[in-house]
């Protein structure tokens, strides 16, 4: 067994073994992958969910309300366990009922699915709110000018929606990065779990948990900065009251 107790902080955090820095960065990369993929799929779910909630039939609307209410009131931790353990079994039962081959759901995919479903529910509400805040007259004006639906979306809806939706969306991205920490509970080697492993193995608890906290903080500060720049960009030409 290595003697971690007498190692210096620099040696403990070194990128190459026996330092644990490399493992922490690998964990961070995995967290960011899950958060990024989950967020992007969540945007797709949320975007279409919002459109359907506004323009879909009553049944679609009610089903979407069920989805957003369920996902937003059940703790992510419970959702993760449900999707991680029950999801694959249910999916494979469905696939074999349809005569399709079984698939194996990797922890990565399970993690992305959870984040995407959770993000999708919240993003649906944010985007719906933002679309509803667009004055109907603007879209009617565009329509009367003979604009095609896609052009209306690109030229009117999207530019008017982004300034309202961006603060919410940036907040949700931060939640996505932090929610990945919950995957530690199913043994997924993301940042929080590897930090805990490093802490338990080396007995330097404070050091590794603080190091992981710092990495999360850096991600959040950089994300905030990027989103602020984006906000400034989409806010150009908006009148400030």
């Amino acid at each position: 067994m290595l003697n971690y107790r007498d190692m210096s902080v620099a040696d403990l955090l070194a990128l190459a073994p026996p330092g644990w820095g490399g493992v922490l960065l690998d964990g961070l990369w995995l967290s960011l992958q899950v958060a990024g993929a989950g967020y992007i799929i969540g945007l797709l779910i949320g975007g279409s969910g919002a459109l359907l909630k506004i323009s879909g039939g009553p049944l679609t609307r009610d089903l979407l309300t069920c989805y957003t209410t369920l996902v937003r009131s059940i703790p992510e931790l419970v959702l993760i366990l449900l999707i991680y353990f029950a999801g694959p079994v249910a999916l494979n039962q469905l696939l074999s009922a349809l005569g399709l081959p079984k698939i194996e759901i990797s922890p990565l995919v399970a993690g992305i699915t959870v984040i995407a479903l959770v993000q999708g529910a919240y993003i649906t509400e944010v985007v719906r709110g933002a679309i509803e805040a667009i004055p109907v007259g603007h879209i009617e004006a565009a329509r009367s000018l003979g604009m095609r639906p896609f052009t209306i979306f690109r030229r009117i809806t999207l530019p008017e929606l982004l300034p309202t939706a961006l603060p919410g969306l940036s907040n949700l991205w931060l939640i996505a990065t932090k929610d990945t920490a919950l995957l530690a509970v199913v043994g997924f080697s993301e940042l929080t779990l590897v930090a805990r492993q490093a802490a338990a193995t080396t007995k330097h608890h404070l050091l590794f948990l603080c190091a992981a906290g710092l990495l999360y903080l850096i991600v959040s500060v950089i994300s905030n900065w990027l989103f602020r720049r984006l906000e400034n960009r989409v806010n150009r030409g908006q009148s400030h009251v």
Partner: protein, 259 residues
């Protein structure tokens, strides 16, 4: 008229569908463990609710000075409050809980005289760590909301209080704070549900809440899905209860304003 009928018809169909699903689950799945664990589940539920209410109240009280410091406090204090919010909001709560519990615990043996100190009985129990972590978390998130609410109160109202010769503290107590709270009230429902969803994390530091009880049921009975489903349903009902209570109080406060 026609629209309303369609609405009713599909809702009835939906309700029937969910009822059928529910009945199917009740009949086909294994629920015989519930009576054995009912008392324990209620105990866990009580712990979750106590944790939710106590940390939300303590967190809300704590968020007021944090928000005020950022809006009108002296520079160093404002900086400190801002950094607190950034750190709490920028790191996962799970990590904060572990840092507080295991991080602090790892240095206990090196603090001389700690085991004889009056605070020791509190330090060995996981409950206070859970309370502190959840309170700080609520204060960090709500502090940000309250900051906006304080800043958003119309200047004229405060100036009016000033012109009437009110003491700054009286202005805060009678005008600024009530107005700010009024502004955050609609967001409180969401924040409380977020806080509810954060409570199961304390199970990882050996606090026996609802989540921990269901984890034990899963381990002792080796039944995988049924306890998880009931657990999800339990949180769903709690979230529903919170929403109902918030709606009730909001309606009540609106009624008082209009009367």
């Amino acid at each position: 008229m026609f629209k309303a009928q369609v609405l009713v018809a599909h809702r009835i169909a939906l309700a029937l569908f969910f009822a059928a699903l529910f009945a199917l689950a009740a009949v086909n799945m294994q629920w015989d463990w519930i009576p054995d664990y009912a008392a324990k589940i209620l105990q866990g539920l009580a712990k979750t609710i106590v944790l939710l209410i106590s940390t939300s109240i303590a967190g809300f009280i704590l968020c007021i000075p944090i928000a005020l410091a950022q809006v009108c406090g002296p520079k160093p204090l404002a900086w400190l409050a801002h950094k607190f919010c950034t750190i709490i909001r920028g790191t996962p709560l799970l990590l904060q809980i572990w840092l507080l519990y295991y991080g602090l615990g790892s240095i206990f043996p090196y603090v001389p005289g700690l085991r004889e100190a009056w605070i020791w009985p509190y330090l060995i129990d996981p409950w206070p760590y859970a309370f502190v972590a959840l309170t700080l978390s609520f204060a960090g998130y709500e502090g940000e909301t309250m900051r906006g609410a304080f800043a958003g109160v119309a200047k004229g109202e405060l100036e009016a209080g000033h012109a009437l010769g009110m003491h700054p503290f009286t202005i805060l107590r009678r005008i600024w704070l009530p107005r700010a709270i009024q502004r955050v009230l609609p967001t409180l429902n969401g924040e409380l549900i977020l806080q509810l969803k954060a409570t199961p994390l304390v199970a990882t530091i050996a606090v026996v809440d609802t989540y921990a009880i269901f984890a034990r049921i899963r381990q002792e009975t080796y039944i995988i899905y049924e306890p998880l489903l009931l657990l999800a349903l339990t949180y769903l009902l709690l979230a529903g209860l919170i929403t109902l209570l918030c709606k009730y109080f909001e309606a009540k406060s609106r009624a008082r304003l209009s009367s």
